[in-house]
């Protein structure tokens, strides 16, 4: 029997708190899960620093990847024998679902920004490079690894296949919303996925939703909206992200200025040089990063030492609401005052912005980029969701932004009350009719 068709003697299952069970019968999938590149995902948290806000959020990219695979498997099961669906693409879809986040590194968001990396680029490299994953995919058939890579990169010719993993209602989002809600313990991220799966239909090059399932989709869109603002952009999590980014900036700065680290940052050197190859990238996981942060608390550099101590012991920055347009002058004065106080504003005075777009639509003739969610009406017409749903219409295309100014209130409080610099800093920070927000 060809490798691509090989089945395990007995179906394997992973117990899963979100989907109850993740089922594996294909030998290829079982072999991919066993590779070191996939097992590495156990050591990368799905939500980075969110566990400092929601202590349950310790789940990993490994859990999520299995979840996306399971959802795609259930979608394909429902699609079998339906027109427009080509079951020859089944294994390709399952592999792409399982491997779609393979290139994520530790604390992806901060690492990518500071070291100018792109996890999608590393996903491609792992799939196409000299790796265990590549060997398995090429055993399926020559060129199969390239197909999997194209699906994940959204450049595969069959857009229906791409849309299962990447669209406004895809397996990736359906898994992470439910999984993140479960592990953070919040009640917002829940929706009736079983109902959505039952009303999904393949039509030409897209997945559409039977109009009778519209309310389940409304619930999904609102869940996404709530999760972004209640969990993903939580100001305390952003405080931890700010400190994490500043640690990485500081360590890079010290390296570039020939600082002698007590602990040689061997795992970081190619990152500091912005010349990271795949082998270096795969070696760095969150356990390694935490080890360095723990050790750097003993460094002589006071900024690196302080920032690491803050991150490891959750001594986070406080914040105030901030409008860069109306408060530019205050910000410039604060910047100078921090310098006068001997507090480096490059590391200790940080504006952070968050934005989200809950659902966007594309209508023929308009120039949006996101493919919309289409409803399949009883007369077989397709209608864009926000034209039919008042709830979705009310949030469609509505973007929300939020700016916050982060700073170490504890350092400011330790300054002498007689110090005029302190007085002025507090006037600027407290004088906006708003108290400094605790991040406790």
């Amino acid at each position: 029997m060809a490798y691509k068709d090989e089945q395990l003697n007995e179906e394997k299952v992973f117990k899963d708190p979100v989907h109850r069970y993740v089922h594996v019968k294909d030998r290829v999938i079982w072999d991919l899960i066993a590779t070191p590149e996939f097992q590495r995902l156990r050591r990368i948290k799905q939500l980075g620093t969110t566990n400092l806000t929601f202590h349950g959020a310790e789940h990993s990219r490994f859990n999520h990847s299995l979840g996306v695979y399971e959802i795609v498997q259930r979608i394909i099961y429902n699609f079998q024998d339906r027109p427009h669906w080509n079951n020859e693409e089944r294994l390709l879809c399952l592999c792409a679902a399982l491997l779609h986040d393979l290139g994520h590194g530790p604390f992806s968001h901060s690492f990518e920004k500071v070291f100018k990396l792109d996890h999608e680029h590393f996903t491609q490299q792992i799939i196409l490079g000299e790796t265990f994953v590549n060997k398995i995919l090429e055993r399926v058939s020559p060129g199969f690894a390239q197909k999997v890579s194209d699906v994940i990169a959204k450049t595969y010719e069959d857009k229906l296949v791409v849309s299962l993993i990447s669209s406004q209602i895809d397996a990736d989002r359906m898994d992470y919303l439910q999984r993140d809600a479960y592990f953070t313990g919040v009640s917002y991220g829940h929706f009736d996925m079983e109902r959505i799966l039952r009303v999904m239909r393949p039509i030409d090059d897209q997945v559409v939703i039977k109009s009778s399932g519209m309310h389940a989709v409304e619930d999904y869109i609102m869940s996404r909206y709530q999760m972004y603002w209640q969990v993903y952009f939580h100001p305390v999590t952003r405080s931890a992200e700010v400190i994490l980014s500043k640690i990485l900036h500081r360590a890079k700065h010290l390296f570039e200025n020939n600082y002698t680290f007590k602990l040689e940052p061997a795992h970081f050197i190619s990152f500091f040089k912005e010349d990271v190859d795949l082998a270096d990238y795969l070696k760095l996981d969150e356990a390694i990063v935490s080890y360095y942060f723990q050790a750097w608390q003993e460094e002589d550099d006071p900024v690196l030492q302080d920032l690491c101590e803050r991150f490891m012991n959750r001594r986070l920055f406080k914040y105030i609401e901030f409008n860069p347009n109306q408060q530019m002058n205050e910000w410039m004065e604060l910047y100078r005052l921090f310098q006068d106080a001997g507090i480096d504003p490059e590391y200790y005075l940080v504006v952070d912005s968050s934005s989200d777009l809950p659902y966007d639509f594309y209508r023929p003739g308009e120039e949006e980029e996101r493919l919309p969610i289409h409803l399949l009406m009883p007369n077989n017409e397709l209608k864009e969701l926000s034209r039919h749903s008042e709830i979705v219409e009310s949030i469609s295309g509505k973007k929300r932004t939020d700016h916050k100014l982060y700073f170490p209130a504890d350092i400011l409080h330790r300054m002498s009350d007689e110090n005029p610099v302190k007085k002025r800093i507090f006037e600027l920070l407290y004088g906006q009719g708003e108290r400094i927000k605790n991040v406790d």
Binding site: E112, K113, K116, D118, E120, A153, K154, T155, E157, N323, P324, N325, M328, W331, M332, V350, V351, S353, S355, D356, L357, Y362, R363, G365, E366, E367, E368, E369, R370, L371, K399, T401, H403
Partner: protein, 168 residues
């Protein structure tokens, strides 16, 4: 603070006005590929390379009053046009920004249609492929656009001309 926002404002200070969201997306991507240090992350989408980060950052710039968005009714669709505002220029003037001169490249890009820039940006997205492979890939990922061989050749010539006018 807001360095990436300031880089975009610098672009608008040079471009004066950009007509259409798709054109803006492609212009920034093409400039990135010409080594102008915009940091917005791009992925392949419906119309080729697209940056969600750029969309959201533009929204932030509009909310802050640094960039003005004008919705223009083109009878069968809406087009969104963007211009830097007085507040935006004032903010930019307070910023010590080290950006290369991109005037010539912006001028070349402004003169082209969004459809053509979609083709150019898609070709640049596949710049690791040979010219023949890239042309094949364009027909695979954009079958509905029906790009002709002439358009693809014109796009290669255009890319050469952009690279002959590097940013300083």
């Amino acid at each position: 603070m807001l360095t990436n926002h300031a880089k975009l404002m610098q672009f608008f200070a040079v471009a004066k006005e950009v007509t259409g969201r798709k054109k803006l997306q492609k212009m920034i991507y093409i400039l990135q590929k010409c080594h102008v240090p915009f940091e917005e992350k791009y992925q392949f989408h419906f119309y080729g390379p697209y940056s969600e980060e750029l969309t959201l950052r533009m929204e932030e710039l509009c909310n802050l009053g640094f960039v003005a968005e004008e919705k223009e009714d083109k009878s069968n669709y809406y087009q969104y046009n963007y211009k830097i505002t007085g507040d935006g220029l004032a903010f930019l003037n307070q910023f010590a920004l080290d950006m290369p001169d991109m005037e010539k490249q912006v001028e070349l890009l402004q003169a082209k249609s969004s459809r053509f820039l979609e083709l150019v940006s898609t070709m640049l997205y596949f710049d690791d492929l040979s010219k023949t492979e890239a042309a094949e890939k364009i027909h695979i990922v954009k079958p509905k656009q029906n790009y002709t061989a002439d358009e693809i050749n014109e796009a290669w010539t255009f890319i050469d001309s952009l690279q002959k006018n590097p940013s300083h």
